[in-house]
Symmetry: C2
């Protein structure tokens, strides 16, 4: 439904993330997807419904089976959202860092650098 809402809440469940991991390697039927998990088939079926309504997978009837495929477009959307904030954050972090260096006369370099402030 609502894009980010449903995307993030679908991704919040580890079983669903595992299912997506499996689907990243290729399409799969419901039964195959369920096998590695220790939960009932209806439970998996519901996870798949959640993933589908978050547009993270597509399902297609193929004969007696129902085949699921990953559709990562929603992930791209979520990733862009995250990137926007990360960038905003790291820029303000850089500004703060610079400000501290200026005002406190720190030696530039190792001491105040942070692995996560790299621009991407």
């Amino acid at each position: 439904m609502n894009n980010l809402n449903s995307t993030f809440s679908a991704l919040a469940d580890p079983t669903r993330r595992s299912i997506l991991a499996r689907l990243a390697q290729g399409e799969s039927s419901v039964g195959e997807l369920a096998r590695p998990f220790d939960v009932s088939l209806p439970a998996i079926s519901r996870h798949l419904r959640v993933l589908e309504s978050a547009a993270l997978i597509v399902r297609e009837r193929r004969g007696k089976h129902r085949v699921c495929r990953l559709d990562a477009r929603a992930m791209v959307g979520a990733s862009l959202w995250l990137d926007f904030y990360s960038r905003f954050w790291s820029e303000s972090f850089d500004r703060l860092d610079k400000h501290l260096k200026q005002t406190r006369q720190l030696k530039p370099g190792k001491g105040s650098s942070n692995a996560n402030t790299k621009k991407r």
Copy 2:
């Protein structure tokens, strides 16, 4: 706690995403953060606790106020996770596309291209 779990479920709530949006523009006190929302202060306080335990914000007592700052490192982690799957997906999409072109002798170009298969 568990990284992706808590990150994604913290991000699944629109109020919390709004709070993060506000914090991307700079630190803010709890009261300031609460003002634009139509919910009680305790509700906001709990949202902030969720964000803090997902390591998306840090809080610091400053006199009578408690100031919140964005910490986007967890977002970077989530974004990398998403990127991995998106890339995997678009590559296999490309393979499929190529395969179809080869086997069905489609004219390369417009017809079978898809805006979402671009490599990033």
